[in-house]
């Protein structure tokens, strides 16, 4: 238990001043600007927005700068900031089918309407350090090609057309919101997806990996991954209609998984779904795998693997909660520890007393313990 302590104000003030000094670092090196973070560390900004659960590039860049690049600290800062703002309401449902595509690939169909476009990707790079980046060398503008305006029809849509994949259940009642109501179990898929969308990328990646290695296998194919910009609309009470708010960048992953069928239903593929703010394919893919693993019970599959355990996954996915509980251990626990120390001393005294009565010299015991 943590008991409040007093004192140390000056030390704390000085420690924070020292933090500010170290954050700025060598004054001969130019300070980094929020624009530089936003543009040149863009994927870091994406991750902080996603797990901070707040879409605002400038704030995420500020959080990264303030946190000295510590991503979880930056995510924490963003989560804390959002609590200071009123909520106007919820947006209309975003239509990812109408996304202005910057990347779209499928591992299941090589020829699909709209085609496959790689976009800005690390895929197929050799992962060799590029020493030309140590200086500010000129980068040639990206190549262009005539763009046909064909819609990028989704792979799930293609399969659904031929009845080969499950449909999605229609809306039923209120949309769960774990920022308003604490999570309880069993949780609906809406709450699970909200939890996973803001969940720690590393945690979800490890869980997703575990399903591939056999702990809750669900035979996935990356049906489609798309990244691009989508329009957001919000029904404004005062205006009386849905107003356009602008566009945000999203990455969506449609995982196509092992099929299921029953006496009354023809066999068909099942689906896992992942989505993240900005460009974050790893997170979206991991989320889709975990979403599918969490549906094991619903689909009548064998359960028991960590990724299929809803309470385990959803209770431990949030890195702000996790870091809070792990890191609180470093706060003064003096009273707690004094109590334990007192108990331990008492137990030791009793032990030595028993030993003395049976004739073993105390020094010999201490010697044993030391060895």
């Amino acid at each position: 238990m943590y008991v409040a302590v007093k004192g140390g104000e000056r030390a704390i003030d000085n420690a924070h001043a020292l933090l500010a000094d170290r954050r700025r670092g060598d004054r001969d090196v130019p300070a980094i600007s929020l624009d530089q973070i936003d543009h040149q560390l863009a994927l870091g900004v994406d991750r902080v927005m996603c797990e901070g659960s707040l879409y605002d590039r400038e704030l995420a860049a500020l959080a990264i700068k303030q946190a000295r690049g510590d991503m979880i600290e930056a995510i924490f800062l963003l989560r804390a900031y959002r609590t200071t703002l009123p909520r106007f309401g919820a947006s209309e449902s975003i239509n990812t089918g109408a996304m202005d595509i910057r990347r779209r690939i499928s591992a299941t169909f090589k020829d699909l309407p709209g085609g496959q476009v790689l976009g800005p990707t690390f895929d197929y790079t050799h992962r060799l350090l590029d020493h030309t980046l140590t200086s500010d060398s000129d980068i040639a503008p990206a190549a262009t090609a005539p763009a046909d305006q064909a819609t990028f029809r989704s792979v799930a849509d293609l399969l659904a057309g031929s009845g080969l994949i499950e449909g999605q259940a229609e809306a039923s009642g209120e949309v769960g919101d774990l920022t308003r109501e604490p999570l309880s179990f069993p949780a609906g898929r809406d709450l699970r997806l909200q939890n996973l969308a803001r969940g720690d990328e590393g945690f979800l990646l490890a869980l997703a990996y575990s399903t591939q290695r056999g702990f809750g296998r669900n035979h996935p194919f990356a049906g489609e991954i798309r990244y691009g910009e989508v329009e957001v609309e919000f029904f404004a009470e005062d205006a009386g209609f849905a107003v356009p708010l602008g566009a945000i960048a999203l990455t969506e992953c449609q995982m196509v998984n092992q099929f299921t069928g029953s006496a009354t239903q023809a066999p068909r593929f099942t689906r896992g779904y992942g989505i993240s703010f900005g460009q974050n394919e790893r997170k979206s893919m991991a989320m889709a795998l975990v979403d599918r693993a969490l549906r094991a019970k619903e689909l009548g599959e064998e359960t028991g693997s960590p990724a299929q355990d809803e309470e385990f996954v959803l209770s431990h996915s949030d890195n702000v909660q996790a870091t809070g509980f792990v890191e609180h251990l470093k706060l003064p626990h003096y009273v707690d520890f004094q109590a334990e120390l007192g108990l331990l001393r008492k137990l030791q005294a009793e032990f030595f007393e028993r030993q003395a009565q049976s004739g073993t010299p105390k020094e010999a015991i201490m010697q044993d313990a030391a060895e």
Binding site: F88, D100, A145, R189, A197, F234, V243, G246
Partner: protein
């Protein structure tokens, strides 16, 4: 019968008008405050207005759909700034924009109010919306062309062991 038809036509016109207004709002939402201000300066609007709702920063929960096409769920929030202005001629304009730029929300609201005024609509469309729309379309076309240059044609190869 004829009354129903005229009513339908009226509804169609209203729908059409709202679609145009929303399209203008969409352009404003993606524009920079300074560019909107420049457009407003160009049309030299001298209509007096009051702040019906001073610019306010808040959050909107962004909703996705399960599987992309199913029931809604909450992805996460976004910062949004809203404002409303009223012209002395009575029109109330609304500005709702992603981000935390109060000035932009207020300018967008003013443009929306002016857009609703029959006398001002054309100059708002021609001098503010049209140039911004063109700028945005050019940016979008460039991004689409750069994306198109990364189009791949994967083809599967016949493996040796399949040939007999």
């Amino acid at each position: 019968m004829s009354t129903i038809n005229s009513q339908d036509r009226g509804n169609d016109a209203a729908r059409e008008s709202l679609a145009q207004r929303r399209a203008a709002m969409a352009v404003l939402a993606k524009a920079k405050a300074a560019d909107i201000a420049r457009g407003l300066a160009d049309i030299g609007s001298d209509v007096a207005f009051t702040d019906a709702r001073p610019a306010e920063i808040g959050l909107v929960m962004l909703r996705g759909r399960i599987g992309g096409d199913g029931a809604p769920f909450n992805i996460g929030e976004a910062t949004v700034t809203r404002a409303a202005v009223q012209l002395e001629t009575g029109e109330t304009g609304f500005g709702y924009v992603l981000g935390r730029d109060r000035e932009k929300a207020r300018l967008a609201a003013l443009c929306d109010a002016l857009w609703q005024s029959e006398a001002k609509r054309k100059s708002v469309e021609d001098h503010i919306i049209a140039p911004l729309r063109q700028q945005q379309q050019e940016r979008r076309a460039l991004a689409q062309a750069q994306t198109a240059a990364t189009r791949v044609d994967f083809f599967t190869l016949v493996r040796g062991e399949d040939e007999r």
